[in-house]
């Protein structure tokens, strides 16, 4: 089993342990094995969305029903979803838990992902969203479970940012170069 498959299994296990039954997602590449698992899952309903802002709003509605949801996305989604995220937590104290890949982390070989690395933490801080960066697979499951406890206690969002061995980690820059 590759590291990525282990990360997928631990993520799914963490979501189940946290009581999540609905997972909204906008697919990207670093967590690419998670999305088919969400679609195939019998006990977690995967809901593909067109925009991260739409996804977090759906998750907010799920919270209001008494069920638990997660938004899975690339970290660039924090910029797309900033408006509803700000209003949901700061304006109404409706919490949403997000799992996001850390594009732009150390070793990022794609120029287009550089803004994601530069803006992610300032955006999360500006939105007053607590977050934790998880780089080891063994930490995924307990972190997801605790993220729900923290979010629902504080009535604020929580972001679990996956990087390192928890993702389909960056190949070398050379192998990505063009021409």
């Amino acid at each position: 089993m590759s590291m990525n498959e282990r990360a997928r299994e631990e993520t799914m296990a963490g979501l189940r342990e946290a009581g999540v039954s609905i997972a909204c997602f906008l697919p990207e590449s670093l967590l690419k094995e998670i999305y088919p698992a969400l679609v195939a899952s019998k006990d977690i309903r995967g809901v593909p969305v067109t925009h991260e802002g739409e996804g977090v709003a759906i998750c907010a509605g799920v919270y209001l029903s008494g069920k638990r949801a997660v938004m899975v996305m690339e970290n660039s989604g924090i910029r797309s979803a900033a408006e509803p995220l700000a209003r949901l937590s700061l304006g109404a104290r409706i919490p949403v838990v997000m799992i996001m890949s850390f594009r732009g982390d150390l070793g990022e070989p794609n120029w287009w992902a550089v803004p994601h690395g530069i803006t992610m933490e300032p955006m999360l801080n500006a939105l007053r969203i607590p977050y934790i960066i998880v780089r080891q697979v063994k930490d995924i499951r307990p972190t997801i479970v605790k993220a729900y406890t923290s979010a629902y206690t504080a009535m604020n969002h929580y972001a679990v940012v996956l990087s390192g061995e928890c993702t389909d980690y960056f190949p070398t820059a050379t192998s990505q170069s063009i021409g």
Binding site: I22, R45, P48, E54, A60, G66, E83, P84, G91
Partner: protein, 202 residues
């Protein structure tokens, strides 16, 4: 049509449903048109989030009819939700879009429906939502409310309403946090669930 008159018609059909609606001119109108639904209604402040949030509620409570009272400006902000609804096909979601062709709360500059070119119900049908209609008279509105609330599939009506608000209405005073807590406690009471439970230690 006058939105307030539409609201009174819709409100007369509601009992056990839950409602998500937008801020703006419709807040005080709904507050007065549906006094029996105050605890069951959540006023949400963000453009583009009313229908998605109602869909999330519908996902979580598949046995209960959920009503979204969205707006033209709000739906234009996130047309993608129509595609998501078409794919996910919730059986318990009724969406009413108050289309007054303007951003009413900021003085009524026009939305994209104002020129009569863009048709929100056609966009919904194009997305794959079969039951999506534009309504221009109260009699049809009432008929469509009955059909939409009784439908076993997602149902969208775009209600063409005037740009005026009903005068001399009692104002709603609560903010987003109070609204959320009130709504959550109502869902807890009527569903027998705990959403905001006690701390480990009090």
């Amino acid at each position: 049509m006058e939105r307030y008159e539409c609201m009174k018609i819709l409100a007369s059909k509601l009992k056990d449903e839950l409602v998500i609606l937008s801020l703006g001119g419709s807040v005080d109108e709904w507050y007065n048109a549906a006094p029996h639904m105050r605890e069951a209604s959540l006023f949400q402040q963000q453009l583009g989030c009313v229908t998605p949030e109602a869909f999330g509620l519908a996902l979580g409570l598949p046995h209960r009819k959920i009503v979204a009272l969205d707006t033209d400006g709000g739906l234009f902000f996130n047309l993608g939700i129509l595609a998501t609804l078409a794919n996910e096909r919730p059986k318990n979601l009724f969406v009413v879009v108050w289309d007054n062709e303007c951003y009413q709360s900021i003085g009524c500059p026009p939305t994209h429906s104002a020129k009569g070119i863009v048709d929100l119900s056609a966009i919904a049908r194009g997305a794959g939502i079969e039951k999506a209609y534009t309504i221009r008279d109260l009699e049809t509105f009432e008929q469509m409310c009955v059909e939409g609330l009784g439908a076993n599939e997602v149902y969208v009506i775009v209600a063409k309403v005037s740009q005026s608000t009903a005068p001399n209405l009692k104002r709603k005073h609560s903010d987003g946090v109070e609204d959320k807590v009130s709504f959550v406690r109502y869902v807890e009471k009527t569903e027998g669930v705990t959403i905001m439970g006690p701390s480990e230690h009090n």
